[in-house]
């Protein structure tokens, strides 16, 4: 009989769009490829995802006041924390979840700490008392959440941050195995008291653009070399944009553009127009908003350079892996290359940590020919999800076998 893993997350992964979904989808794929049966339950934000992207067991986190308050207060941007409380509560989503649990579970893999209370509650049931718990860290969540709340000037949230820290440490300490996306995060998890912490980096799905799509996008995008920024509307993707890149996009030549794809587009537009240099900035932006994966593959294939303006936080950025894999110039902060430090040897990978450095490097690369192909291709191949995540089912299976009956 195939071993069974139950994946718990705060987002569905049927049609992955943002980084968390993409990682989860590839984790599921890695388990399946290693012979596991995979079940998934996502507690997702209502209206956050279209119907066609939901799995059969996914449960919306309702908008009712009762579940949207933390200790009776409305604190924005902590729905992920609240959704875990909802999922584990008998008066919340737990009865619904209980109906959908498979009869037999070997492992519950919780991606990010938010649904850890649900995993603990399931393990507390007699039928699932032998279940092993796996914690999939995507970041060190507490400082990241603090940065997000600070960037929106949200006060009166110290107790919420404390609850997040407790939850994250609980997940790390109670998990039989933890997986981290960077070596630095892995060390942090061990410091938090992890029994075992392994590295499972973020990777990429090698893409091949359709020739028709390529031709169509060539017509729409600048003929001069241009730089691409692909990101979701996750706050760190835009709140620090001006601080990282500077207020002016004057470093982009007049016939080039900063092409922005993904739901971050609208936020970048607002960041660009609120400065004194709005007309200049708008003249250098081309916003594509959310586009299909086929279109994105074409756009990524045509980019001369990738912009990776990640200001802070832990974890690693899937977009960085894609950028490195593309062979185009990658201009990013030190934070953006976290987890991919060994790719710094590639000549097209460039780090900038001040607006001045960013502007100087981008000005330069947009006037250079495309980097030579073929250089260090073998190194780039190590970025594929298959190779990055192979360690998850291997380590989990080995742990389950070693601890069978314990």
């Amino acid at each position: 009989m195939k071993p069974v893993v139950l994946l718990l997350s705060t987002y569905p992964y049927v049609k992955p769009q943002h980084g968390g979904q993409i990682r989860l989808a590839n984790i599921a794929k890695a388990y399946k490829s290693a012979g596991w049966h995979v079940e998934n339950i996502a507690i997702f934000p209502v209206n956050g995802y279209p119907k066609e992207s939901l799995g059969p067991n996914d449960l919306p986190f309702p908008v009712t006041q009762e579940w949207r308050r933390f200790k009776g207060r409305k604190i924005p941007l902590i729905d992920d924390l609240l959704s875990g409380m909802y999922a584990a509560s008998n008066s919340g989503g737990f009865p619904f979840i209980l109906e959908r649990l498979p009869q037999h579970i070997n492992v519950i893999h919780v991606e990010q700490p938010w649904l850890w209370p649900l995993a603990v509650k399931i393990k507390g049931l007699l039928a699932y008392q032998n279940v092993r718990l796996v914690y999939g860290s995507q970041n060190i969540e507490t400082p990241l959440k603090k940065d997000i709340l600070d960037s929106f000037n949200i006060d009166d949230c110290a107790d919420a941050l404390e609850a997040i820290e407790l939850l994250e440490k609980q997940a790390v300490q109670e998990a039989d195995i933890c997986f981290a996306v960077t070596e630095a995060d892995r060390k942090t998890l061990l410091e938090f008291g992890a029994k075992k912490a392994c590295l499972a980096s973020n990777g990429i799905n090698p893409w091949q653009a359709n020739p028709d799509d390529l031709e169509r996008w060539k017509q729409k995008l600048p003929t001069a070399p241009w730089i691409l920024y692909v990101a979701s509307a996750h706050p760190p993707n835009f709140t620090g944009f001006g601080r990282v890149v500077g207020d002016s996009l004057g470093f982009i030549p007049p016939d080039s553009r900063l092409v922005v794809a993904g739901s971050v587009s609208e936020h970048i537009y607002h960041a660009a127009v609120k400065t004194r240099w709005s007309s200049l900035n708008i003249s250098r932006l081309q916003l594509l908003h959310t586009i299909s994966n086929d279109d994105l593959a074409a756009v990524k294939s045509l980019a001369h350079a990738f912009l990776l303006p990640i200001p802070h936080g832990g974890g690693s950025n899937i977009k960085t892996a894609e950028a490195i894999y593309s062979g185009a110039y990658c201009v990013g902060t030190t934070s953006a290359f976290r987890g991919y430090e060994n790719f710094a040897v590639l000549p097209e990978v460039m780090t900038a940590d001040t607006p001045f450095e960013y502007q100087r490097i981008i000005k330069d690369v947009l006037q250079q020919p495309f980097p030579l192909r073929g250089n260090k291709d073998e190194l780039r191949q190590t970025l594929s999800w298959d190779r990055c995540l192979a360690s998850i089912p291997e380590n989990v299976l080995s742990f389950v076998r070693d601890n069978h009956g314990k």
Binding site: S248, P254, D255, Y269, I282, S283, L287
Partner: protein, 475 residues
């Protein structure tokens, strides 16, 4: 094969009045290029609507220069020499400009008092008006996209992008293209940059000042974002930028560093300051002739907030109230511009000052020459300048000037001019009174100016442009 030098004369071709300021720079350079028997010189113009550079014949340039000198409307360029023929369509006028023209025509029908109120009402609501135009465009775009979707989500703003090229520019690789005119209105540097990337010619541009970005509040509406884009594009296009003062060079360097653009090499050009002296036999206008029997000082400039006419008005009121006798008439030579409606109203209604201030508009070259010859001295209290031609002209006419101490003005007047903080009202009142009481000191200063001041000629300025262009061919 030798490289050609192309001088863009778009501004000159579109001008039909006597040349002042920027127009004069381009026109004087064109005149020099035409007549100095220089090799490999060509002329061109830019058609903004069709995004095309077109060759202009020497004959057409000469006609345009003659027209400017005579102050008559310009004649259209000869079709046979244009490559391709100049388009018959009228010049492109934006919807904003068209509506503005209509509104101004309507306002001009109002009685003067009502007109000022209407203008104030309209100008206070300018942002609302621009927002309405933008909304109209967005709605139009939305309807178009709804009916025939282009398949790509457009950016929220209207992005011009790179224009469809109908006819390549007449420049070839390593040619030099020079533009000295009203480029923010008449050129498209984004198009110029894309053509430069294709053809690899060299570009020599000019920066007069960055005041619209640095002191936006002294302009009509929110101009800083638009001009920042203009200067950023200028930086990307130019192989060298001529700045009209060290002050402008410093300002531009700082701005470009802030914008993150490349900082091209810059050199400082000294503009000519020869007065367009009319014939001494010319008939004076009655307004100017009426000054013949009286003492006067003058400020030559458009009447606008930045030029700070207000400080002189206030200084004069102080002198009047103090009981100072024999105050020379203060003559404002120039047409009223934006932002001075309250000052104009004060000047009209303030009975204390009415006998002491006079305004002269549409002054001919002959009148201006007479005014410079006969003024006691000149004043120039401007808040900020890229150069300060009135100070240079005053010195060229042998006249002392009391000027503000800001920006480039000390470069212009060196130590032949006395400088005062433009906001220091007591100082202006005190120094004016002092010079009214000490004509012998003015005479002494005039003597020194005659001995020591060497006015720059327009020929030297144009020659500097040519030499800079030639050096570019060697880079």
């Amino acid at each position: 094969m030798e490289n050609n030098i192309w001088l863009d004369v778009t501004t000159t071709l579109n001008w039909n009045r006597p040349a002042v300021g920027i127009i004069r720079v381009e026109a004087e350079t064109a005149s020099y290029f035409l007549n100095a028997n220089l090799p490999n010189i060509y002329f061109c113009r830019f058609d903004l609507k069709n995004k095309e550079y077109l060759k202009v014949s020497r004959g057409d340039v000469q006609k345009a220069l003659d027209t400017i000198r005579m102050g008559k409307p310009s004649v259209a360029p000869e079709k046979k020499d244009a490559l391709p023929p100049p388009p018959p369509a009228p010049p492109f006028v934006s919807i904003e400009q068209r509506v503005k023209n209509v509104v101004l025509r309507v306002f001009n029908l109002f009685p003067r008092r009502a007109r000022q109120k209407a203008l104030k009402f309209a100008s206070d609501r300018l942002n609302g008006y621009y927002a309405a135009v933008r909304s109209y465009r967005e709605i139009r775009l939305a309807v178009q996209e709804f009916i025939s979707p282009s398949g790509i989500v457009p950016s929220p703003p209207i992005v011009d992008g790179v224009a469809q090229v109908k006819q390549p520019p007449p420049f070839k690789t390593d040619d030099i293209y020079i533009s000295l005119g009203l480029d923010w209105d008449q050129k498209d540097y984004e198009y110029l940059f894309s053509e430069k990337r294709l053809i690899n010619f060299k570009v020599l541009l000019i920066c007069y000042d960055i005041i619209p970005v640095k002191y936006q509040h002294l302009f009509f509406g929110e101009v800083a974002p638009l001009f920042a884009r203009y200067f950023a594009n200028l930086a990307w296009c130019a192989d060298e930028v001529l700045c009209i003062s060290e002050c402008t060079k410093r300002d531009l360097t700082l701005l470009l560093a802030e914008l993150g653009t490349p900082i091209p090499p810059m050199s400082v050009i000294k503009l000519g300051c020869e007065l367009p002296y009319g014939n001494s036999q010319d008939q004076l206008s009655p307004e100017v002739a009426s000054l013949a029997e009286t003492k006067f000082i003058m400020l030559v400039s458009t009447i606008e907030r930045r030029k700070n006419h207000e400080i002189l008005y206030r200084a004069y009121t102080r002198l009047v109230e103090k009981g100072v006798k024999k105050i020379p008439i203060l003559v404002f030579v120039g047409m009223p511009g934006w932002g001075v409606s309250e000052l104009m109203s004060d000047l009209k209604l303030d009975f204390r000052i009415r006998p002491h201030i006079r305004m002269l508009n549409h002054v001919s070259d002959g009148d201006l020459a007479w005014l410079y010859r006969n003024t006691e001295f000149t004043v120039f209290p401007s808040l900020y300048e890229g150069w300060g031609i009135p100070v240079a002209e005053s010195l060229a006419a042998g006249k002392f000037c009391l000027a503000s101490n800001t920006a480039s003005l000390p470069e212009v007047g060196e130590d032949l001019v006395e400088y005062i903080d433009p906001w220091d009202l007591p100082a202006w009142a005190e120094r004016l009174e002092w010079y009214f009481d000490h004509p012998e000191e003015i005479a002494r200063k005039e003597q020194r100016i005659r001995n020591e001041y060497h006015p720059a000629s327009w020929r030297d300025a144009a020659s500097f442009v040519f030499n800079t262009a030639q050096k570019l061919t060697e880079r």
